[in-house]
Amino acid sequence: MSDSKQHQIITSWEENLFNALKQAGVKQLPYVPDAGHSKVIDMAHKDPDIRPVVLTTEEEGVALCCGAWLGGEKSVLLMQSSGVGNCINMLSLISNCNFPFVTIITMRGEFGEFNSWQVPMSSATQGSLELMGLNVQRVEERDDVGPTVAAALYSAYSSDQRIAILLSQKLIGSKKW
C-alpha cells in the first residue's frame, strides 16, 4: 500500500499507558496534574473501574499507594518532575516496608522548556529517586510507553519492586507559551 496513513499509529501513547494500567488491574490512581498526564487523568475519571485521587501534594500519593497495597489494591502515582522533590522523605515508607510502587513522572525543564524555574528540580529528579532507592526507567519514544508501564507494574507487583518511569519532555511535547 502506498497510502502512508496505513502506517499511522492507531492508538496514542496515552491510550497505551491507560490500557497498561487497566490490564494490570490498577484500582487507585493518585495524581497531582500535569499537562502531560491530562488525557490519562480524563480517561480515569470516565472509567468506573479505576479511582482517580486528586492530591494536594505528591507525597500524599506515596502514602496512599502504601495503604492501598496493605488492603490489596494496586495503584500508580502520576506527577510531574517538580513533584518528586515533595516526596523524598515519604519514599522511606516504601523502602522500610518494601512496598511495591510505580510512579509515572512527566519531565519538565529538560527540552524546549520556557520556564527556567522548572529546571533545578528537573535536573535532580532522576538522582533524587535513585538516592531514595527507586529503579528509574526513562522513556524517550512514544511506542515504548505502554510496554514500559506494563513491565514496571509486573515487576513491582510480582516481587515488591519500586520503579519510577520518567516520560521525557521531548516525548510529551513542551508546553506552548
Binding site: K27, Q28, R51, V53, V54, L55, T56, T57, E59, E60, G61, V62, A63, L64, C65, C66, G67, A68, W69, L70, G71, G72, E73, S75, N89, M90, S92, L93, N96, C97, N98, F99
Partner: protein
C-alpha cells in the same frame, strides 16, 4: 474548676475496645506506642516515620477495603504536617474512614515544643470546612465511648480531635521491621 484532660493511653484503649475487624494505622511517635500498649494485633500498622502520611495511608486502605472500618490514630503534629490530606480525603468521601487525632498541643517526641493547635489552630474546623460530614472535638471519656461505636458504623468520613494531656507515658515499642508489619497485616486480611 478546671477539667482534667484525658490520658492518651486510656483514650486509645477505650477507642478500640470493641475493635472486631477494625483496621488501624498509627502515626509515628506516641500514637504508635499508645496503639501497641492497647494490645498488639496483626491488623495494627505502626508507622515509625513517614511523618504526615498516616491519614493518606488510611485513605488508601479504606478505599481498598470498603467493607471494613479503618481507623487512623495520630498526633496533632503529624496531622498538621499532612494537613492537605483532610482535603484529599473529603473529595473521596470514604464512609469507612475515621481520623482520630490525639491532640496534646505539643510536639511530644522532640522536647514538648508547642504545636499549632497549642497556638489556637482549630483542626476540627479545618476538617469540617474541608468537607468531613462529621468533625468533633472530644474532651471526656463518655465522648470516647460514643465515638468507639460510631467508628464501626461506616457513616464517615469522621474526624475526631481528642484533647489529651501532655504527659508522656513509658514507651511501648512494637517491632521496627516494616516488612514484617506489612506482611502480617496483609496475611491477616487475606485469611478473613
Amino acid at each position: 474548676m478546671t477539667v482534667e484532660k484525658l490520658n492518651r493511653r486510656e483514650v486509645v484503649k477505650k477507642l478500640i475496645s470493641n475493635r472486631a475487624n477494625l483496621l488501624i494505622i498509627s502515626g509515628l511517635g506516641s500514637p504508635t506506642y499508645d496503639l501497641h500498649d492497647a494490645g498488639d494485633n496483626n491488623q495494627n500498622f505502626y508507622l515509625w516515620g513517614a511523618m504526615g502520611g498516616a491519614a493518606m495511608m488510611g485513605l488508601g486502605l479504606a478505599l481498598s477495603q470498603p467493607e471494613k472500618s479503618v481507623l487512623v490514630v495520630t498526633g496533632d503534629g503529624e496531622q498538621l504536617m499532612g494537613i492537605g490530606a483532610l482535603a484529599t480525603i473529603s473529595v473521596q468521601m470514604p464512609k469507612n474512614l475515621t481520623i482520630a487525632v490525639l491532640d496534646n498541643e505539643h510536639f511530644g517526641e522532640t522536647g514538648m515544643q508547642k504545636s499549632h493547635t497549642g497556638y489556637g489552630v482549630d483542626l476540627v474546623g479545618i476538617a469540617h470546612s474541608s468537607g468531613f460530614p462529621i468533625s468533633q472535638e472530644l474532651t471526656n471519656m463518655s465522648d470516647i465511648e460514643v465515638a468507639r461505636d460510631d467508628i464501626l458504623l461506616n457513616n464517615g468520613p469522621m474526624f475526631l480531635n481528642i484533647k489529651i494531656n501532655s504527659q508522656s507515658p513509658d514507651r511501648s515499642l512494637p517491632t521496627l521491621d516494616g516488612v514484617e508489619l506489612k506482611n502480617r497485616f496483609r496475611t491477616s486480611l487475606k485469611s478473613q
